[in-house]
């Protein structure tokens, strides 16, 4: 009886990501919800940074609108790279 409960508890904890460290989970410990929310935010925030940097650099260097146009593309690329990192965690070298 006790074993059965422990077994169920462990399954439940794993399901909720509480024991993720044991099954080698690295970073991506939450379910599809967490992934979905993270992916959207990662994409948009990189774009915000790209647009913001491009806008400020344009104001500073007086090259409007060229740097903004370039940095929008760079920001989009950085967003895609954020998402790539999210789904493909970097290989961690054994210590």
């Amino acid at each position: 009886m006790a074993d059965e409960f422990d077994d169920r508890l462990r399954k439940a904890r794993t399901r909720h990501g509480l024991d993720a460290a044991e099954n080698g989970g690295k970073g991506s410990v939450h379910g599809p919800w967490g992934f979905g929310l993270r992916a959207g935010v990662e994409l948009v925030s990189a774009l915000i940074v790209g647009v913001g940097l491009g806008f400020l650099l344009d104001r500073w260097l007086g090259t409007s609108p060229w740097l903004l146009m370039v940095m929008i593309l760079v920001g989009g690329a950085a967003g895609v790279m954020n998402i790539y990192r999210l789904f493909m965690p970097p290989k961690r070298p054994p210590k």
Partner: protein, 251 residues
């Protein structure tokens, strides 16, 4: 909390108003600051009073304090490694502060201080600065090699380096927007459905059965929001740990 008049007023709950009378108004001490102090006081009380018995078999409060401590410690050691223990106080403070802020916000009449981007962005910039400074102190100029992965062809450098820099700077933005947006969205949804209950109920007794529907949704939403409150504090802490791992191991 009913809406004023027959409108749905979902955003006024995030307005800052000074507390503590004239003294509070003079220094713009808003209810957000007050609830930050409350969460810090509650965390301190949990550890000062909860750990007072120092029992081998802990009581309820001591068990709660120990569970929270061990949970964050497990997070730090599994993500950063054993050498990450020295950053445990930093991660723990962030996690406890955000968790208590989120959870306090679920109480009626309470204010969620994590629903303001100013608060979450400040916390995220703190994480960003701390991890960057740790990386530079541990690795010196090699830190800047982070922006150009080894083995990539050199002619790609003009593309890779700006993209990596933007990706690095986007960390605090995504960290802060995620927490703030989740808290705002949850509280707006609660408020909108609560207003539906009041508006439908105000139409007359015949509408009361229909008013039970948004009420049922709100009951489910409260449970969901408590999950989100915990999950977002957890996500903030685990991402801090991942960034610390990158800063310590640098690859």
């Amino acid at each position: 909390m009913a809406a004023e008049g027959p409108t749905i007023d979902a955003l006024s709950q995030f307005e800052l108003t000074p507390v503590f009378g004239a003294f509070g108004a003079a220094v713009n001490f808003s209810q957000a600051n007050a609830f930050m102090l409350v969460s810090v006081a509650l965390i301190s009380a949990l550890y000062v009073y909860g750990m007072r018995p120092r029992a081998v078999v802990p009581g309820r409060l001591q068990a709660a304090a120990e569970m929270l401590h061990d949970f964050v410690l497990g997070l730090v050691t599994s993500q950063v490694g054993e050498e990450g223990r020295r950053y445990f106080p930093f991660v723990f403070s962030l996690f406890a502060f955000i968790l208590f802020g989120n959870m306090l916000g679920m109480l009626p009449y309470a204010f969620t201080h994590t629903s303001h981007i100013a608060v979450t962005l400040t916390l995220a910039v703190l994480v960003f600065l701390v991890t960057t400074i740790i990386a530079i102190r541990l690795h010196g100029l090699k830190f800047f090699g982070y922006f150009f992965p080894e083995g990539a062809p050199l002619w790609l450098a003009p593309i890779i380096i700006p993209v990596e820099i933007v990706s690095y700077i986007s960390r605090p933005i995504s960290l802060s927007i995620r927490l703030f947006a989740n808290m705002v969205a949850g509280h707006v949804m609660l408020k909108v459905f609560a207003t539906f209950v009041v508006l439908l109920g105000g139409l007359g007794a015949a509408w009361l059965p229909l008013a039970a529907l948004p009420l049922a949704i709100n009951v489910a939403l409260v449970g969901f929001e408590i999950l989100v409150a915990f999950l977002q504090a957890y996500v903030f802490a685990i991402l801090t740990c991942i960034y610390l791992h990158d800063a310590v191991h640098l690859h």
